[in-house]
Symmetry: D2
Subunit: 341 residues, 4 copies
Amino acid sequence: MPQAQGPVRVALIGSGRMGSFHGETLARRLPGATLAAVADPAPGAAEKLAGTLGAPKFFTDAAAAFADPDIDAVVIAAPARFHADLVVGAAAAGKAVFCEKPMAITLADADRAIDAANAAGVVLQVGFNRRYAPDWAAARALLDNGTLGTPRLLRSVTRDPGGFDPSRVAPNTIFLETLIHDFDTLRYLNPGANAVEVFATANALVEPEWKDRGLLDTAVVVVRFDNGAVGTAEACFEAAYGYDVRGEVFGSGGMATMGDGRKTGMVFSGAAGQLADTARGDQELLTSAYIAELAEFVEAVRTGGSATVNGEDARAALEIALAAAQSVETGRPVLIAELAK
Amino acid sequence: MPQAQGPVRVALIGSGRMGSFHGETLARRLPGATLAAVADPAPGAAEKLAGTLGAPKFFTDAAAAFADPDIDAVVIAAPARFHADLVVGAAAAGKAVFCEKPMAITLADADRAIDAANAAGVVLQVGFNRRYAPDWAAARALLDNGTLGTPRLLRSVTRDPGGFDPSRVAPNTIFLETLIHDFDTLRYLNPGANAVEVFATANALVEPEWKDRGLLDTAVVVVRFDNGAVGTAEACFEAAYGYDVRGEVFGSGGMATMGDGRKTGMVFSGAAGQLADTARGDQELLTSAYIAELAEFVEAVRTGGSATVNGEDARAALEIALAAAQSVETGRPVLIAELAK
Amino acid sequence: MPQAQGPVRVALIGSGRMGSFHGETLARRLPGATLAAVADPAPGAAEKLAGTLGAPKFFTDAAAAFADPDIDAVVIAAPARFHADLVVGAAAAGKAVFCEKPMAITLADADRAIDAANAAGVVLQVGFNRRYAPDWAAARALLDNGTLGTPRLLRSVTRDPGGFDPSRVAPNTIFLETLIHDFDTLRYLNPGANAVEVFATANALVEPEWKDRGLLDTAVVVVRFDNGAVGTAEACFEAAYGYDVRGEVFGSGGMATMGDGRKTGMVFSGAAGQLADTARGDQELLTSAYIAELAEFVEAVRTGGSATVNGEDARAALEIALAAAQSVETGRPVLIAELAK
Amino acid sequence: MPQAQGPVRVALIGSGRMGSFHGETLARRLPGATLAAVADPAPGAAEKLAGTLGAPKFFTDAAAAFADPDIDAVVIAAPARFHADLVVGAAAAGKAVFCEKPMAITLADADRAIDAANAAGVVLQVGFNRRYAPDWAAARALLDNGTLGTPRLLRSVTRDPGGFDPSRVAPNTIFLETLIHDFDTLRYLNPGANAVEVFATANALVEPEWKDRGLLDTAVVVVRFDNGAVGTAEACFEAAYGYDVRGEVFGSGGMATMGDGRKTGMVFSGAAGQLADTARGDQELLTSAYIAELAEFVEAVRTGGSATVNGEDARAALEIALAAAQSVETGRPVLIAELAK
């Protein structure tokens, strides 16, 4: 429970790239929150980030943060495989939870996390950032007010700027960590519909020599929904022009396109033609979305509200990701209903 | 053989919507050609169009046009199921042939058409209009000069403006007549690669009550190529905003996007925001491409050149279309190599 | 008078850069016209272009073309200072006249040209190309149907791609030959209003060392109209990115913007960002407008219609140009009513 | 002087529309600042806003805020005619000053304000928001790194969304309060150059019946700079499509265009065409710029830095505004050097 009048006291779990950004947001960008602690098992990591951001406490064990009565909520930005256990631990300690995607990497884990939050009656929010990006929210508004009509075809694209280390990419990362955003986006823009079947094809086109070791760096996934709409999600780990997040929803009333990739609206016309600079990373392109999702979380904690992107959303996107992985393995479309539970 | 100095004398076979446009181009837009005759089996149809366009001859039987020594070439715009026989007949008579897509609707027919043209030594060009649209040609130029690098992901979209009569849509029209353009486009923008496997999902979302009678008005097709690139083609027979033809090719060097759907570059900013009018039909959006393809054909005939979009291209796109249809039937991806020949 | 059934027989007067383009249009792009003759005083010039384009006759003296009974109409693309006399000569001989801008460079000459055409009862059309460019025509349609409301502020820009020879630029060329287009555009987009006052400032910014010899290569002109609207016209003889023609009309109902400078709709996203190629010259950017204006002329001649852009339009734009030149000389705004007549 | 470690304690002077926004920024959006007090002479106004934003103190007299030792800095958002005196008062009391534009409405007042800040050695920053808008900053970067070359032609546009009360618009508001932004923008994008001469034309086109009472709601101003570049600034108090701030700088190296007016990047394609929603007010369009300018101010106060947009900039923009007003009065261009000092 937050203090009566003060800001929500948040512990950050995980001090890596995304954790650091969330930490900064909690410490410096959200007057309603304070960064109360940082936890990270890597020697010195939590202390260092806590020092930089002025957080009063740091831990190597997340459990210590969960046990701390001066902490109201946690933001989990640890590696994906630890997410479910961390959600369960935090919820059991009565902390509100914001968990980076994917909330879990198995359906059983997802169910455990959801159950734990329900049992504790705490907020459980998941970091599907695109819902907080202005273009996507505007498209959803056109669905909600009927302008777009019934969705027929959807598209969601994520392309990373490259520079990854292929030796450190776990199998199915492209589905579980990258395309999970797109799977949620397809669901977000096809409100009330459920995925029925998934067909995926994937390959190592950026680092072809790693294909034999299981790397998948480029993928296309087709998702058939129970309202007949078909969504296409595609991802690649390297785009020469930077970070690229775009989407499209085409319904009976028209089409919305989201994402123009531009860094600013300034266009330079020179000897080469008209040039608009592009965003080079997610934190640059989605800055306001990353802040908005934490703002909503903090507000939910403060007011006793509930999350609009919750554990069930995380589970539903995970189903599509697991089906996509299975489709690549088998070379066949996979029914969501077939998934081992 | 064309007259020594005069324009190429072309007979138009088929006087429907597309035939009329091609007829007008031959009669009025291409100084190098004359519309020498119109053939159409419908009573009075050929006579009427010939009168309108000033063509000196008209026939109800295409064979009469083939037999006419004053005709150098034919433009076939009859219903798709007659195309292959018409190509064979025209080629056998020594006429150069421009055939609207699809050149054939079975692989056996495609082979017959190709063989007939080869045997006769006549030009055989196929109406894949997008190759002649400036955006697509510009994208291909970026592939040819290496700027785009190796293709990884491609997309091609066709959306018609609606208003079709579902009772008159033959099965698999969406693959054989609509998406055939997109299949060719994917090949055009992935030069030298061959399709290996096709997965398709399709539905009747515009006219759902016709689904039981076999209507497919909305489809998504994933095409895997032998260079690892994956293309997505999608189509719908109705878009609220008009006629929509767009594409994307994403390679190791960057991305090209094609098609902005705008009628002109004029933008009106009013109470509703910024508004750009969209093209409402193919002949409006692709006017210059339709003229350019006939101009190239006429020039090839005149100079004894060969077609850049030929029977082999038509056959390769047809393979993808047939595999897509089979994929929808079976619910499984289909290897091009599996296709019954 | 044109032949009963045949194409309009046109003589081209002037075989330079623009004359050659118009000649090609008459010879090859307009089935309703034939290029019947070319006239140019430069030794061999008319013969050469006539040969290239298949025109049956060529003259060194335009008067010979005027006297030829086999010629129905003339297209004048000679140097500007000869325009008025050529219009008068052609009209006196009963030929329909299309004259490149400026139709005249003094008001007295403009009046002579108008009077001659009126006396002869021939079509007199002036080459204000922007009226035939799709963006501008679409903006005008929004004025005509009331969408834009009453114009308040207008803008018209012309920037040439550079590469000019400063020694060959006559004084006030920027007003009389370049901005004359923009002055007409401001009038076209402020229908029914008349220019009242003009303020201009100009300089040699591209070739500063030529300023002392009277070169003006960059200019801004403010035109106040009698309905209160204010138009701004600006020009520069060199733009690093090519040929740039844009405009804007802002009225009580909203704003229309015209001209995006893009060569095609294809956008390349690469290491530098998003890149759209730009048109590099007027004949590339305005191809369709150049053809459309001659098509309208030929149609007016054939049907006995009248020109929509006529001598009075040429005179009105000239008034603004002369006032702009006088404004630069005097450093003061100049009333149209002050102009020596 | 700020507290050793704590946030900069800022008093807000003026609690109107813009004051409220700045107050919110100080209270809720800038962790480095606190809103320490609100001052406003209107009965109850300061108390009300202080209550809403949690500011501990409120005053009806700004002098009380200046005298308060617990206040480090002031943000002045009172009516323009009081600005100079408030700057002088705050500076004399040793407070750092952020002053909304215009800092003064006479040159003598501007000089007094500058002198007071200099004498006190306090930061004096002026609210020229466009310098903090990403498009404009990006254009300036292209000037600073030489890409744009030497400026030749510049344009800056401001259009308000309308709904103003013509009875409350002081004479020359369009120059002193609206176009002052554009005058600063022209200077910002022509670095190091000074305005030499100004020609302006203005009218009451939105509310024509108020023209006789001196209303000017639409204006065009041409500014000639000492490096030969010519800038055009235009404004109108009502645009049907909302709030419109755009600009262009064209130099020897190319052109930068700034401002696309779009609310988000989402585009809806529907029966009317492609539609992008537009921003409807300055606080919506320039949110981040308004925050960034205060962030820079707070940082300057905290670190003892100086303002990048200072009293001299305010004075230079005021010169252009006063010359524009004089030009409208006299109907003639006005030299900056002529201005009564």
